[in-house]
């Protein structure tokens, strides 16, 4: 079973520049969460802080009782082996072929025979659709291929916590849809706790159990997907609709004058309510996601603390049989 990740009061600055402060959230064990946020709000910094690559100024990140911020270096080092991190730029070893890159964790941490390693690596390479490119160096393939190779490398040790930094950027829409399905299938197979950082609205709408959003140096919200998808919060609504109107500007924040002008503009208020698309199911033949049942329990238990819109959406989600989609809605970029 996946491992719960508890983040408490995390604050990070680089010199005088505060990135975010007081981020508190819990990634429930085995569930898939998505972190949204405009470019430059510190999502990558957040992922790196979870895994202990960057040291936040304050706060804790608890995993199995180990604090990834303040615990002794050796414990952090051991705990990292539970993680698979897919870097935003792939971070492949430039001097090794894709095969050797993906085999690296196996060769370092297991005593598997070379034939066994070959079998596992080729299987992963096939899953991410890179068959035929395994002998190439990272410098000889496209950006999207590098990302997929980075994902394969992150997955090769069957990690219990998977962090993906913008898995979709650099991928075409079809590959993105396959990737969404791949992430859900993976979750069904190994029940790992997953956190995906993305700008992609299709992934946000169809993959996660939970969603959060970073904006203006803080965590705007974090909770069940229905909470964000029905949110009236201007930032969240703007981001999920991909509109220009709202608090997010080109250089992260708009000033008050621009906002007032927008509010006065009659075209702005065309606020169509979003439909909630059902979450992706694992591919046929795979076991059901164990996290789904746990999530149902958990979310139904917190219903009375949620705003009415979110509550209604959750009740609709769980009204029908858990395996069938709640409503016959058009699928938005689902890869099934």
């Amino acid at each position: 079973m996946g491992i719960e990740v508890v983040v408490e009061g995390l604050t990070k600055s680089f010199g005088k520049q505060n990135i975010w402060q007081d981020v508190t959230l819990t990634l429930p064990a085995g569930e898939v969460s998505v972190m949204l946020g405009p470019s430059g709000t510190g999502k990558t910094v957040f992922l790196k802080s979870l895994i202990g690559l960057l040291k936040p100024d304050r706060g804790r990140v608890l995993i199995n009782g180990v604090d990834m911020v303040n615990s002794p270096e050796r414990e952090i080092f051991e705990t990292r082996k539970l993680f698979g991190l897919m870097f935003q730029d792939g971070a492949l070893f430039g001097s090794m072929s894709l095969f050797d890159n993906i085999a690296f964790p196996l060769r370092e941490h297991t005593r598997k025979k070379e034939a066994e390693i070959r079998r596992i690596v080729m299987e992963r390479i096939e899953v991410v659709g890179l068959l035929g490119a395994e002998r190439k160096l990272p410098g000889e393939i496209s950006g999207g291929m590098r990302k997929r190779a980075g994902l394969a490398r992150a997955l090769v040790l069957d990690p219990q916590i998977i962090l993906c930094d913008e898995p979709d950027s650099g991928l075409d829409p079809v590959r993105t849809a396959y990737l969404s399905q791949l992430l859900i299938d993976l979750n069904a197979q190994i029940d790992a706790t997953m956190l995906i950082v993305t700008h992609n609205l299709d992934i946000a709408a169809t993959v996660p159990d939970n969603m959060g959003m970073l904006f203006r140096r803080e965590l705007v919200t974090f909770g069940p997907r229905e909470l964000l998808l029905t949110s009236e919060e201007p930032v969240v609504a703007q981001f999920l609709a991909g509109r220009r109107e709202g608090p997010i500007g080109m250089s992260e924040e708009k000033d008050a004058a621009a906002l007032a002008a927008e509010a006065a503009d009659p075209r702005t208020r065309a606020n169509t309510p979003r439909e909630i698309v059902p979450q992706l199911e694992p591919s046929p033949g795979l076991p059901a996601r164990r996290a789904a049942a746990r999530r149902r329990e958990r979310v139904l238990g917190m219903l009375d603390r949620l705003p009415p819109a979110a509550r209604a959406a959750i009740e609709r989600t769980y009204a029908s049989a858990p395996t069938a989609p709640a409503m016959p809605l058009p699928a938005a970029g689902s890869g099934s």
């Binding site: 051991e78 990292r80 082996k81 971070a91 430039g94």
Partner: protein
């Protein structure tokens, strides 16, 4: 400014300590070590040999002319050998190991750092210090010793050639003065210097390579700084070791 310099120095020592500890950790990265050794040797051997011939000659000529004026020609050989083995050779090694070897190490580690390769390694629970830095530092030490031997031999041969053929010294006097002035500890301290120089060059290059500031431009700056810092350190350390050696080991031709 001063606290900044102190902090850098502290981190440099911390890295040295970490490397020293990691040297004894299994598994030893033998392949990486051999590759690095081979690489460092291949970029330094030829320039070292080429530099040491004129260096040996200059010293032989200078010492030869001095001894002539002092009326001590019979000591020319021994004196120039001492100068080559104890001073010229370690300094040539310092020059090449930091200029050619250290800059390559620093550029390599620096570009890996900005490509996040080292972060990726750390995330996979593999220590970049053990995996990458230790083999490089050991290779730098090994190559430094090798170079030191090479430079000494080539320098002495060069000195011999110039003294005997250009300054009309006699081969017999040149050789016999070896044993009257030089002694084995001179050779030991020379190799000791080489080992220490290799260690310092490797550590400084690795330190600057692991901490480049801001992108590809930062790597260029880091390489530059690593070479300058290593030069300063090596010349200073050379002075200290020489001073201590001359104090504690009695000269032979007393």
């Amino acid at each position: 400014m001063i606290t900044g310099a102190l902090r850098q120095t502290g981190r440099l020592f911390a890295l040295s300590a970490e490397v020293s500890r990691a040297i004894f950790k299994r598994p030893f990265q033998f392949r990486e070590f051999v590759e690095q050794f081979w690489f460092l040797a291949s970029v330094t051997i030829l320039p070292a040999a080429l530099v040491s011939i004129p260096f040996g000659a200059v010293i032989a000529l200078q010492v030869g002319s001095l001894t002539q004026q002092l009326g001590a020609q019979s000591f020319t050989g021994g004196a120039s050998v001492l100068a080559v083995v104890q001073q010229a050779s370690p300094l040539i090694v310092a020059l090449l190991i930091s200029g050619a070897g250290g800059s390559a190490i620093c550029a390599d580690l620096g570009s890996r750092t900005i490509r996040e390769e080292l972060d990726a390694m750390e995330v996979m629970g593999v220590s970049p210090v053990q995996r990458l830095v230790v083999p490089r530092v050991l290779a730098a030490m090994g190559v430094a010793v090798l170079l030191n031997g090479l430079v000494s031999v080539v320098g002495i041969l060069g000195g011999y050639f110039f003294n005997v053929y250009l300054q009309d010294g006699t081969p017999g006097a040149y050789l016999s003065s070896f044993s009257s002035l030089a002694q084995l500890p001179d050779l030991y301290v020379s190799e000791l210097k080489a080992v220490i120089f290799g260690f310092i060059a490797g550590i400084v290059a690795a330190y600057r390579g692991l901490n480049p500031r801001g992108g590809p431009k930062g790597v260029g700056d880091a390489v530059n700084q690593s070479v300058v810092i290593t030069f300063l350190l090596l010349f200073f350390v050379n002075m200290v070791i020489t001073g201590v050696y001359l104090q504690i080991v009695p000269p032979k031709g007393g």
